[in-house]
Subunit: 452 residues, 2 copies
Amino acid sequence: MSIYKKMDEYLEKNLDQSLAELSTYVAQPSVSAQNLGLKECAQLVKGMLEKRGFKAEVMSTDGAPVVFAERKGKSDKTLLIYNHYDVQPPEPLDLWESPPFEPEIRGDKMYGRGVSDDKSHLTSRLFAIDSILDEDGELPCNIKFIVEGEEETASEHLHEFVTQNMDRLKADACIWEFGGVDHRDVPMQYLGLRGICYVELSVESLGTDVHSGLGGSIFPNAAWRLTWALTSLKGVDERILIPGFYDDVIPPSARDRELMAKLPDVADVYRKQYGVKEFIKGLKGGTDLKVEEVFTPTCTICGLTSGYQGVGQKTVQPARASAKVDFRLVPAQKPEDILKKLRAHLDAQGFSDVQIQYHGGEPAARTDPDDAFIKIVVDTSTEIYGVPMEIVPMVGGSGPSYPFVHDLGLPVATMGLGYPETKAHAPNENIRLDLYLKHAKHMARVIKEFAK
Amino acid sequence: MSIYKKMDEYLEKNLDQSLAELSTYVAQPSVSAQNLGLKECAQLVKGMLEKRGFKAEVMSTDGAPVVFAERKGKSDKTLLIYNHYDVQPPEPLDLWESPPFEPEIRGDKMYGRGVSDDKSHLTSRLFAIDSILDEDGELPCNIKFIVEGEEETASEHLHEFVTQNMDRLKADACIWEFGGVDHRDVPMQYLGLRGICYVELSVESLGTDVHSGLGGSIFPNAAWRLTWALTSLKGVDERILIPGFYDDVIPPSARDRELMAKLPDVADVYRKQYGVKEFIKGLKGGTDLKVEEVFTPTCTICGLTSGYQGVGQKTVQPARASAKVDFRLVPAQKPEDILKKLRAHLDAQGFSDVQIQYHGGEPAARTDPDDAFIKIVVDTSTEIYGVPMEIVPMVGGSGPSYPFVHDLGLPVATMGLGYPETKAHAPNENIRLDLYLKHAKHMARVIKEFAK
């Protein structure tokens, strides 16, 4: 019989109460992209933490405030939990089956904007803490919360906040905002995020658009200048041509390949889901595809704009052209370094007329798959999910984990209640109530085992 | 004393009457792009021609009807006059100082949509015929009119109409729809138009846009495919790389260069008007710039569209990308041939995933600057404008003159009442009344001299 029986019973008995708290939390709009309800939501979070005996503070930044909270526990160890209280915009509203800020339980799911990403993560974690306090009357270790309000707008001020509050954030391990199960209901442990360097390249070649009958032979064309500059960045073979771009790349280890090999094949899923006819670089599937997907840096054109974009023909030579370009970075590439190399490359290639606007970046960050804390998080899942978590050493996306891994020096574990149909960022965002309970049970175990 | 004194007096005395006819003509909306008032306007034109004793007919095409008319004259020679009764859309309406379809004389100008392009050209030519009929009671030669209704939408059915009515359109010379004076009030004789081949290149690489954290390393990117395909078309040195593209090019003759050298320099005008910092191909100005502007074929990107085009960053890998590309052609390149070579080139370069949509084309057409008919048009201007017309052997734009030059085998002369501030295609389109009278006088002389 599980030593967690009493806590599990508490969680099963009080689920409705925690869902009611979640419901109140989701009903408070907090859209960072629209600067909507952020201060109110931060105060709400502060109250939720204080209710559990945390000393909580709403700390201002140059953007949305950060809620920081801590409560001492029995052991000297400190667990830091990162969440965010902001959510994506709810639009398009007409696609929602129930209003986004009026959370509703239908069947075994709860619907609402932010219910999955990531308000339920915070309340289910507080629920886990409730179950521990109910049994022990105290926490087994110190717990700190950092709950920011700009995650959905690229966490612009988080890195600075972390480096300015190193002492307060000091900890031994960190739980990340999200996590979840895959299509087989197997919980996944995502241990790395690629970095990113997002730029806009633009050219202005003339004071005004010109009739193409006039300018075509003798005036510089912004769209051509941009096209040529872009082609200088990456060849048809997908090799990035910026000198020094690959200098700092740490290739995947044998252990990484071994972990990737254990994960399900994705080729058929991608063919079906995204209409891929052929993968690039001659990839066919298997481990090679999975490794390439996350362990290589990229240079992606996210958008192109110039001149006439309507129906039919307009004979115009455009004065302006621009491209959005996103570099995904792998350890140990740095966005500032890539930016510098990009500028130097464009200048050297004769494209000093191409302007670079930096839209932000973050280096990649990874946690060692064999870290002792990760082992706790992975192993404690077995009793709840029936299987241990599967370890994904790296994913293709990016996020603000760098300051936690590299400034605070923490192992960062993911766990949570995402699932393939959770519709984060989309209409009818939802969570499964069974996964809500499971995450709370899992979290209670992680806290107890970590404290030992 | 001019032998045209009596005709000139007629024109001076009856100017108001002709302007009243022009006013009625402009008041009839005839917007081809909006299919507005075309049939009514064709009937109006038919009536205007019949009033001068022409046998006129409204002939249907697959688009707007064409008005064809002829009247026999004394000599065997036949002059064909090409005009169009359709006009540009009047929008934006709020920028007009008087309503576009309520023509108004203010000071020495008449304002209204189509008044310059090219309704005044038709009425002033009919006015010239009136002056001849007043003096002689008959025409000195056969005159035919072809007045189409699709010039402002690329004359889609004109070429076919000409080839299907070769016998009826048979003539010895042709007067083009427009002409005018430059900023010095010097009348210009434009003798050639470049051809055009307008295409849209598009790529669809996925069934849906994908998060760039996922697709960047392993999925084909439509924007990259398009960028690379475009770069394969033209190098940074502006040389077009499609094999055989330059095969049929007839370079400018020594006579062409001589005529271009006589024209005013354009470099400073272009620098000021269009904000050109540097011309391409190392051009600085002078005859080289003028010759390059009109005698070389081009490959111009008119527009680029793909993925995210809004503010800031969106991390998306686009499924679709497209470009509008306009090739200006010189004699004796053919749009169908260029289209075929473009497809073959893209296939050979590995870009068979790039689709080509053909938006239409027309070959270049030129009239010999030393043709006897051109000499008549140029020389007769001296008495009216104080100077002979200046000959421009070629201009950079395109137009439907090819079937007149190559199918009907005619010399095509331009003459008319355009001037730099005429605002064709723009709000407050207008004509100068002095140029209206001058064009009628000039036209009467051309008809009389041509008939000899």
